[in-house]
């Protein structure tokens, strides 16, 4: 067994939560730069330039890219040969987020569903844990804002809907979201599994760096086709009209029940924040 102390986990998660919120990933910066080249609308171009400038200011002046520093979502892969010493894994992850949001001056954005009272420290967190082989602990810290999350949808389609039905629902979800999720967006798609798995797949697909192809050639082609269709809607940057509504479509797929065709569409805004740490 390889031992990892809870303190190491707390520190790593704290740093990752701050980094994710202050430093826009290179993949997103590059995607925005290339989007500048094919955007035709002047307003749209101006917006993309301002987003790039925003990312630069945030990085240099050490303030968040976006004030909605989100609910903390953590994808965790725990190697079976790892033993966590000094306390519980979940508590350590949560403590890391608590500290990161406090020390990094990040906004606490979690509240009671009805009284709307803020929990005050951005907990509880949302953890998706996978047990894997090996002696490593991998953590992705993925803060997710409310604006784009609110525009996400889940559909339990009839198997007969097929690809045509799936594509139609994806484009429709983006079209209906319009300006609300802060386009240009990234569209995370989860197909198959079951009700909850499709949603987790959709979110997990967003971890793939922009600009890297889907390892499955068939899905890669469909991603490109969907992106073209989405960008025909004319929604454009911030929904004010233009060519660049989305920067990419990412699909993750797995088998499902013989009676089902689950589809989840998780919309991610341009403030796509994900930092990976391996312990």
């Amino acid at each position: 067994m390889r031992e990892i102390s809870t303190q190491t986990i707390v520190d790593a998660v704290k740093d990752a939560s701050i980094q994710a919120n202050l430093e826009l990933g290179d993949d997103v910066v590059q995607a925005l730069e290339s989007a500048l080249e094919y955007e035709e609308s002047n307003v749209g171009k101006d917006i993309i330039k301002k987003l790039l400038e925003n990312a630069r200011i945030a990085r240099e002046e050490r303030i968040p890219i976006c004030q909605d520093t989100g609910v903390a979502v953590l994808f965790v892969e725990l190697g079976q040969e790892v033993s966590v010493k000094g306390g519980g894994l979940h508590q350590a992850l949560e403590e890391g987020i608590r500290k990161g949001y406090k020390e990094g001056f990040l906004r606490k954005s979690v509240c009671h569903p009805f009284t709307r009272k803020n929990t005050g420290d951005n907990t509880p967190i949302i953890v998706h844990l996978d047990l894997v082989s090996g002696d490593k602990l991998k953590i992705w810290v993925v803060p997710k804002g409310g604006g784009s999350e609110n525009m996400s949808r889940l559909f339990m389609l009839l198997p007969s809907a097929g690809w045509a039905g799936v594509k139609e629902k994806i484009v429709q979800t983006v079209a209906e979201a319009g300006p609300n999720p802060c386009p240009p967006t990234i569209i995370g798609v989860g197909i198959g599994g079951n009700f909850e798995r499709s949603a987790i797949l959709a979110k997990k697909s967003l971890l793939r760096a922009l600009g890297t192809p889907n390892p499955d050639p068939e899905l890669d082609e469909i991603e490109q086709e969907l992106l073209t269709e989405i960008n025909k809607t004319g929604i454009g940057p911030q929904g004010l009209g233009g060519r660049v509504t989305s920067l990419a479509v990412h699909i993750l797929m797995m088998p499902c029940h013989i009676a089902s065709l689950p589809l989840a569409v998780n919309i991610q805004c341009h403030a796509s924040r994900h930092v990976e740490v391996v312990l």
């Binding site: 301002k50 925003n54 303030i63 520093t69 709307r116 929904g239």
Partner: protein, 185 residues
């Protein structure tokens, strides 16, 4: 791109009537922040005919819940939040003389109609450009509902805060017209 206007608060009808959907504006002066929870509280005061924590007539409300100010700064990141959550409250505030709203995303038919009737405009700031927007904010102080944290009502002194006119006093909507222009069928 439309024309560019430099607005100074408080605003009069004459200031906003020339604005057209698609125009760019910069805003200077005092503006107020409020999100869902603050709107709900302000509405309760209006219904009870009590005094409000902020003036409404001639003012601009910015829909924002900033991140905390790090030491030495006035405010953290301060980009707009999605406006439709404030739609149930906006017509009443427009009736009381509110002249401008800043946020992101579409407004309801009722809000657009109220802007025409009471002469108000809705402007979009760039969603997710929180660090850039913070640069235009020169002073900030909580004026009500401190307990709401990011949702507290703040008075902001801004200099050349950039925004784009989405809905004007004629009922135009840039979200509809802009998209139509670039739509490929």
């Amino acid at each position: 791109m439309g024309k560019e206007y430099h607005l100074k608060t408080p605003l009069s009808v004459e200031d906003i009537e020339p604005l057209r959907s698609g125009d760019r504006v910069t805003i200077s002066g005092i503006i107020y922040t409020a999100r869902d929870a603050a709107h709900r509280k302000i509405m309760e005061l209006i219904e009870a005919e009590k005094e409000l924590p902020i003036p409404i007539e001639g003012q601009i409300i910015y829909y924002v819940g900033p991140s905390p100010a790090p030491p030495g700064r006035v405010i953290g990141a301060a980009g707009p939040t999605t406006s439709y959550r404030m739609d149930p409250f906006a017509p009443k505030l427009l009736e009381l003389g509110l002249k401008g709203m800043i946020g992101k995303g579409k407004r309801s038919k009722e809000v657009i109609e109220a802007m025409v009737r009471h002469k108000g405009v809705y402007m979009a700031a760039i969603g997710g450009a929180g660090a850039l927007m913070a640069r235009a904010i020169k002073a900030a102080r909580v004026v009500a509902y401190e307990e709401l944290g990011p949702e507290a009502v703040r008075e902001l002194r801004v200099e050349s805060l950039p925004a784009i006119v989405v809905n004007d006093t004629l009922g135009n909507d840039l979200y509809v017209e802009g998209q139509k222009k670039y739509r490929i069928n």
